[in-house]
Symmetry: C2
Subunit: 137 residues, 2 copies
DNA sequence: TGTTTGTTACGAAACGTTTCGTAACGACGC
DNA sequence: GCGTCGTTACGAAACGTTTCGTAACAAACA
């Protein structure tokens, strides 16, 4: 029962979720202004999207005042993990290794980021001694 | 002009592409049998999908004999890279680091795979000495 | 030849996503 | 009070995806 009934946000919905994750609870106007920085989008389009997301339970809203305030109902990390699972299954035959190789391969990554990944690998090693610990020696 | 006019396969289309990538050029019947291992899907559904993919240029087909043979027109790696770019933009604010952390974090990964990733990191380091090469010693 | 079997072609329904036009409504300034 | 402005609500169109029923057709076979 670890997997809950997580909604599957569409691409447009993800765009909005990113605004809410990064900027916190926001009005329709604010979200629309943020989206408008990237592309043309009508105000009522953003409004409708948020209303649909509200119906789906993807966002909650505070409608105590006239201009409603929307808030992400999905946690960023959980959602990202779900999306990776989807992509893993849809295009990588379930191999996380291949995905990571692709993500790092044809992409310029800074030394700092590479180091952070190394640290992550080390911490996984320590937490999870799957095979003979001798091998590390 | 590095970016071509790459089609964006849907989820169902990716399912079929995976079959063609792994099994090579295949008939509708074969693809449908493969898909049927995972879920219920009608023969004409698979056929129609392949026909649409053909129109879109996602697959090519040899119709010299009565039963046509379909072949992936997209390379696996290119497509995977494109999908990662999409996901990166759609949900990770463009940070490949965050994506990799997510992919490795809440997932059990074998020591062997971790080592392969380490090798990949090392090879990236060698190819791309952004900072002091001394650090590697 | 006539029947069965497996194939392609085609149309359409069902559904979800995205977009926007229009209307109603409250707040605010004049 | 009245008009303006920003907001929400609602309906619908346009579009893409997915699914499947039906028909046409060719090959194999009895």
């Amino acid at each position: 029962m670890t997997k809950k009934n997580i909604p599957r946000p569409t691409e447009s919905e993800l765009e909005i979720l990113q605004v809410l994750w990064q900027q916190g609870p926001s009005t329709v106007r604010f979200v629309n202004d943020e989206l408008s920085k990237r592309r043309d989008v009508g105000y009522t389009t953003t409004l409708k999207l948020l209303q649909l997301m509200h119906e789906k339970g993807i966002v909650t809203r505070d409608d105590s005042s006239r201009t409603h305030v929307y808030r992400a109902a999905l946690r960023e990390q959980e959602t990202q993990g779900m999306l990776i699972d989807r992509l893993l299954d849809a295009a990588f035959g379930g191999s996380a290794l291949k995905l990571v190789q692709q993500a790092l391969g044809n992409r310029q990554t800074s030394r700092e980021e590479l180091d952070q990944i190394r640290n992550l690998l080390d911490s996984i090693d320590n937490q999870n001694p799957t095979t003979d610990p001798d091998e590390l020696a």
